[in-house]
Structures are given as C-alpha cells and as structure tokens.
C-alpha cells in the first residue's frame, strides 16, 4: 500500500518536474493540470462533457452486450452457427476495425448513430467470442448429470450452461467495456468533437494544455476506476464459482 503511494508520488513528481523544466512547451506541470481539472469539475464543464461522452458508450455497450451474448450463446450451442459466424468475429477480433470509421461516417453521418456503431464494432467481438467459448467449455459431466436427471434442453441451458458460463461471459463484458471506451474516445476525436473529446480538441487548439491534460487524465481515470469496479464485482459475484470442479 505504501509502495503504491510511493509509486504514485514518484510518477506524479516526475510529471511535475518534467513540466517545470519544461521538456516541451506543450507539457504542463502536474499541479497546473490538477488545478485545471478541479476548475472544470467545479464549473460543471466536466459533467456536461461526460454526459455526452457516456451516452453513446452506454447505448453501444448495451447493444453489444445484448446482441453479443445472444450470438455467443447461439454460436456456442450450435455447430452450424459456429461454422457460419465464428470466422467473422475471429477476423473482427484480430483486425483493426477502427479503419471502418470513415465508412461509417459516410453511411451514417457524424451523429450519434456512427458513434454507437464504432463502440459496437469495437466491443462486440470479444463479448461474442468469450460467451461462445464459455458455453463450449461447460464441463460435459454436469450437462450429462442434468440430462441423466431428465432435464430438458431449456433447463440445461438455463440451469447449467448459463450459470457455468457466466464468469467468462462477465469478463468478456468487462473487456468489451474497455474496448468500448477506446471506441468512444476514438469516435469523439475522429468523427465530431463532443463531450470529453471536445474539451481535448478545443483546449489543444487554443493551446490551453493544462485543460487538455486534465481532460485526458480524467477520462483515463474514469475508465480505469470503472473497469476495476467491474472486476471487483466479478470476483464478488463469482467467488468460488470456478472452483469446486473436480480439477481443483
């Protein structure tokens, strides 16, 4: 714990010193940035900005989660569906999908739709693939157990496969949210500057570097805190869920 604090002091101290030298005219000190951050927080700019940034993010992640989990379940359950759809998501996972953005802008304009789309294509593949592999890796002995007690297919899905797969599905969701953040900011920087992307772009254009750094600092902090929270939740919810199979 002390070491964590020490490590933070070292990094922020280095930032402060580098800003004071200064290493670059565009490198404000840590304190300047934090002051700018406090200012933006208190005059409410930051909150309005996040309202705008988080809207496509939430919509996009919700759509990705819904469609992604459904697709993943289906792919995991049906060989035929697996053959048909897996390759698409495997390629999507490996490919730099950001390259699609200019096309999306052409097709859907510069509004919310495009941004939601960007977030979806970034977040969906990992959700689908995680869900599918979790479903496929359900221990066959517990599926057989349910079948030997005459569980119906639906019961096996609801009472065996989904509970068994949910830890992996959840961590897929977490990775999806992480990718969604990347997409959300990319969309704001590339498509139209709104929300936090607007603060970044605008303060850069007027050379208000402390505000720019503060905005970037805040969005990274927000994303990391939120993802950490999700991870905590995951550990809490599924504690012991992965243990207790015979292999442990």
């Amino acid at each position: 714990m002390y070491l964590k604090l020490l490590s933070a002091v070292i990094v922020f101290g280095a930032w402060e010193i580098a800003g004071r030298i200064p290493v670059s005219y565009a490198f404000p000190t840590f304190i300047e940035s934090m002051v700018a951050l406090a200012q933006m927080t208190f005059d409410g700019t930051l909150f309005t900005a996040y309202g705008e940034t988080l809207r496509p993010l939430i919509i996009g992640v919700a759509i990705s989660a819904f469609i992604g989990i459904a697709m993943g379940l289906w792919i995991g359950l049906s060989n035929w569906f697996d053959w048909l759809f897996s390759p698409i998501f495997i390629v999507m996972q490996a490919a730099p999908l950001a390259a699609l953005i200019p096309l999306l802008v052409m097709a859907y304009g510069i509004g919310l739709t495009s941004k939601v789309f960007v977030i979806c294509i970034m977040a969906m593949p990992v959700i689908v693939l995680n869900t599918a592999s979790a479903v496929r890796n359900t221990p066959s002995s517990i599926k057989e157990m349910a079948r030997s007690f005459m569980g119906s297919d639906l019961e096996i899905l609801l009472k065996i496969i989904i509970p068994a797969a949910s830890p992996v599905i959840f961590s897929g969701l977490r990775l999806g949210v992480s990718a969604g953040f990347i997409g959300a900011i990319l969309a704001e920087l590339k498509i139209t500057p709104t929300g936090v992307g607007d603060i970044i772009t605008f303060s850069r254009s007027i050379a208000d570097y402390p505000s720019m750094y503060a905005a970037i600092f805040s969005i990274i902090l927000l994303a990391v805190l939120f993802l950490n929270l999700l991870e905590r939740l995951e550990n809490l919810l599924f504690e012991g869920n992965n243990r207790g199979y015979v292999s442990d």
Partner: protein, 250 residues
C-alpha cells in the same frame, strides 16, 4: 462442422459470406457495398500503385518500429518485475492501469509533444502493444519453478547466465503469448494512430478514398488490411504453438 459426413474446414464459411456480399453488392441495395468481385478486381489494380505501396511501407515501418520498442522494452521490464518485488510493486499499478486505459485519449498528447508525423504513430503503436507484453513476461517469470532456479544456482550459474538460460526460456511460452496479443493490439494502435493523425499511411489512403467516395478502393484496402492482420495473428499463434511446445508439459 459436418455436412453429409463431409468435414467443412473451419474458416470456409467466409466463402459463403463473400457470395452474400456479391449478391448484396449486385442488387444495388446500397451505394456503400459494391460487389465483392469488383472489390477484388480493384484490389489487384491498386495493390501495385505507388500510393498503396507508400501507405503499406509507411504503415509497416511504423508498426515494426513500434512493436520492436514494445518487445525490447516490455520483455526485460516484465522479467525484472517478475524477479524483483520492489520494482514489481512500484510498476504493477501503472501497467495494469495502462492495460485497460482508453489509450486513444493519449494520442492528442503525443501529437502536441511529438508532432503530426511518424514519431507519434510509432509511440502509439508501442503504447498499445507494450503493457500486455510486460504483464505476460512477468507472469511467465513468476510461474517458474523455484527448484529450476535453485538447480541452476547449485550448478554455479551466474546471475546473468541464470537470466538468459533459465528465466527467458522458462518464461518463453507466456512471453510469446504476450507478444502475440501485443502485436494484434499494435496493429490496432498503428491504424488508430494513422486515423487520428491521418496524414500518413493507410490513414491518409482511407481519408482520400472516403472523401472521394471511392467505395471499391476503400473496401479493397480494408480487405488487404484485415487479411494481413488476421494472417499475422494466425502465424504468431502457430509459432507460439511450435516454439512453446513444452508449455503444457511443465
């Protein structure tokens, strides 16, 4: 997947999707999707053009330079973290943070600090790739059997010897796994960097094609890019399996 007892190869459904694309393209449903065959035709035309070769070489340069830095910094740092508790405690929170942070937000900073050119793109690539490489190298070192290290020490291995003869090899499977994921992230990073900085490489090409509504060209470049990214990740996965054959047997 089996049809009438005949085994269909894993990625063969892409052919079906290609056909579907062709049909949608021919039906003229939307301007944004030209027929697949025409896209492929365009692909062969543009693949030799100077603009394409320039974009490709610029991208490849930025990518390989970025990945080179990520690997050559990431692996030693990861090994050090795995070996030394103090360094580990100091760095781990930051590595974890940057691993899940939306790195796209940092690109504007790179732009003001390092200019609108190659340097920023290379650094973007490195930033995308390095954290997972560090983390995996660290995990690889941490899982090393203590008895193996003690064995080396008992035979009189010097620290540097131990570093290269034991730590590196014993952690190799994890390190390679990290490099593979890092490289895939690097591909995304180089493209995101180019899109945001957008005066070099494929970023410029995409900009050019989309502002001029050259759909076939756009898709052709996209296909080349995706195919290369996918091939790269498959090759790395293959190499990983070949080199790290002993991973499962430890």
């Amino acid at each position: 997947m089996k049809v009438y007892g005949y085994h269909l190869p894993a990625m063969s459904s892409l052919i079906l999707w290609g056909i579907l694309w062709e049909i949608v393209g021919r039906s003229g449903l939307t301007f944004f999707i030209p027929p697949f065959s025409e896209v492929i035709g365009t692909l062969f035309v543009i693949i030799g053009t100077p603009a394409f070769i320039k974009a490709l070489s610029e991208t490849a340069y930025a990518f390989f330079a970025g990945v080179f830095f990520a690997v050559s910094i990431g692996i030693p740092v990861g090994i050090l973290m795995g070996k030394n508790r103090l360094i580990d405690e100091l760095l781990l929170p930051w590595v974890n943070m940057f691993l899940s942070a939306p790195l796209t937000a940092l690109v504007p900073v790179l732009m003001v600090l390092f200019g609108f050119g190659m340097k920023s793109i290379i650094i973007t690539t490195t930033l995308f790739a390095i954290w997972i490489i560090i983390l995996n190298a660290r995990a690889g070192v941490r899982q090393i059997d203590r008895s193996m290290v003690e064995m080396a020490r008992s035979f009189g291995a010097k620290p540097l010897d131990a570093f290269f003869k034991i730590y590196f090899w014993a952690a190799l499977p994890e390190i390679l796994g990290g490099v593979r994921i890092g490289v895939i992230r690097g591909v995304k990073g180089v493209i995101i960097g180019q899109l945001l900085i957008s005066i070099v490489g494929f970023g410029a090409l995409f900009e050019l094609y989309s502002t001029n509504f050259l759909m076939k060209h756009f898709w052709a470049v996209l296909i080349v890019l995706f195919a290369m990214a996918f091939a790269l990740s498959e090759v790395l996965a293959y190499l990983e399996r070949r080199v790290a054959y002993y991973a499962a047997k430890r």
